[in-house]
Homo-oligomer: 333 residues x 2
Amino acid sequence: MSKKVAIIGTGLIGTSIGMALKKSLGDKLELVGHDRDPERSRQAVQMGAFHKSEVNLLRTIEDADVVILAVPLGAMPSIMKDAYDSFSTNCVVTDTGSTKAQVVKWAEELLPKHVAFVAAHPMAGREISGPEGAKVDLFAGATYCICPTVTTKRDALDVVVGLVESVGAKPLFIDAYEHDSYVSFVSHLPIIIASALISSTNKSEGWREISRLASSGYKDTSRLASGDPVMNTDVCMLNKEHISARIDDYITELKNWKTLINGDGVELEKQFTRVWEARERVISGADMTQETRPFEKIPSATDYLMGTVATRKLNEALDKWTEAKAAKNKKRS
Amino acid sequence: MSKKVAIIGTGLIGTSIGMALKKSLGDKLELVGHDRDPERSRQAVQMGAFHKSEVNLLRTIEDADVVILAVPLGAMPSIMKDAYDSFSTNCVVTDTGSTKAQVVKWAEELLPKHVAFVAAHPMAGREISGPEGAKVDLFAGATYCICPTVTTKRDALDVVVGLVESVGAKPLFIDAYEHDSYVSFVSHLPIIIASALISSTNKSEGWREISRLASSGYKDTSRLASGDPVMNTDVCMLNKEHISARIDDYITELKNWKTLINGDGVELEKQFTRVWEARERVISGADMTQETRPFEKIPSATDYLMGTVATRKLNEALDKWTEAKAAKNKKRS
């Protein structure tokens, strides 16, 4: 019998997950999409993302083996509350929210105890929101954060890692608090930078003339300002401490650049060279940690509470998990 | 007899201009490319950008009807000096530099009086520098700034507007000082924003872990940090007053965003909505001035000295020029 996967929220992310799962596992799954706006879930079905759409939230969740919450962060607690009685026993629930500490907290407080929740976050997006922005390969090669806690069930983790791999992404185990810190650097600060570029330049006298000179550089640097305003607001509200710290650091850095610009150019050129090289390393992935350590034991509660150690331990667990799976598959064949 | 067009500097811009001119006017022109690095001009010839390359700067410029200086700003004065005796009489010289006030000054001081200089700047680019980044359609639909002065010869302006249209770009007449102010908003501030994003995040402890979460948002926002370090330094050195003012405004704006992020979210959502709409207007071109006024007279020296009026007058002149050309063509056919 095929497993029922219910995706709540058929926007950019939910619809792209549906498309990717249908492509890789379509015959083994019953993919059902629900959206607060039924027109959007119908559109997602037409795009081939789901076997069917369902207008009723509770019916979508009933008898689902897996529920993926792909809704804006602000909508998450009310959905968890509303659907409390509808989750089937041993249902695996995951989400795609851009911050994780608060989501983990909501899940612990609001979901029924017979549900296995695994917080997650795909590191992929586009400025075109809604199903119309969805792409079957949106997650191809992307990092997909998975944030287990001490109470996360191993079987549920197994299911979510499987889903992540099925959409073509690379699972990364990461502590929820660390996740929120990390994304403030690489996702949330860029959103503010892009938005402030627009608001800073747009208000200038003569903008109608000035904007004629805006080219790909201005457009790329400001691209994230075209993200969904509600989702961006949710993200900032749930990660304000980290984002505020990033803005402070960034302002300090801008002041350094201004000093260099007002110098003789020698240090400025060195600095431009350094950032050129630094960006190359990010793009090529050379900056990423390649360390893998021998797996010793399944991470304990203490490990999880040890800050930076947590992520490493979690990834050691993932390595072990992958090895074990490979060994099992080898044995079978 | 075909006209000789010499392009000095066969990097991204020079090679792309060569490719576009060869496509649109190839049989009417003799396109010759020169680069300080002969390997780069040979590569540009292989890419079909030029009829031939020439290793000697002076021979490249000798008997050229048009010379396009597509070199970094810092290299421009020495080329003007070195080639002083090589420019043919009535040679039209133009450039592609990212700042214009200083270039106009250099041209007035350093070029022989029998040369007709027209400063210009195509609003297009890529982060891949060198001939390998060149594309035949790099300028398709792009704004191409032309900065005449009171001494600019009408015939030379005619030639440069013709070149701009031949590469598929849209000519925009703009005062050189205004140009430098405008590009500080839409080109140079974004370069600093992108570079500071890299330098600010890259220095953080744990960057090797954090960078695994960097996705398209981080990469797009930082794209301009991959621009040529020498060219970026030149630009900052020649436009430091405008750029410094933009950085100050931008820091003020970031502080406003931080305040909103630490509020209840209501004003923040409104602000995210405003920038979403503002970026839409830029992308769609709705922000651009659409005003066209009846042409009255050829702009006078006074007009040029009148600050913001200058650009409008210049564009009225361009409208007139376009109308006159269209009428002439109609008459012919």
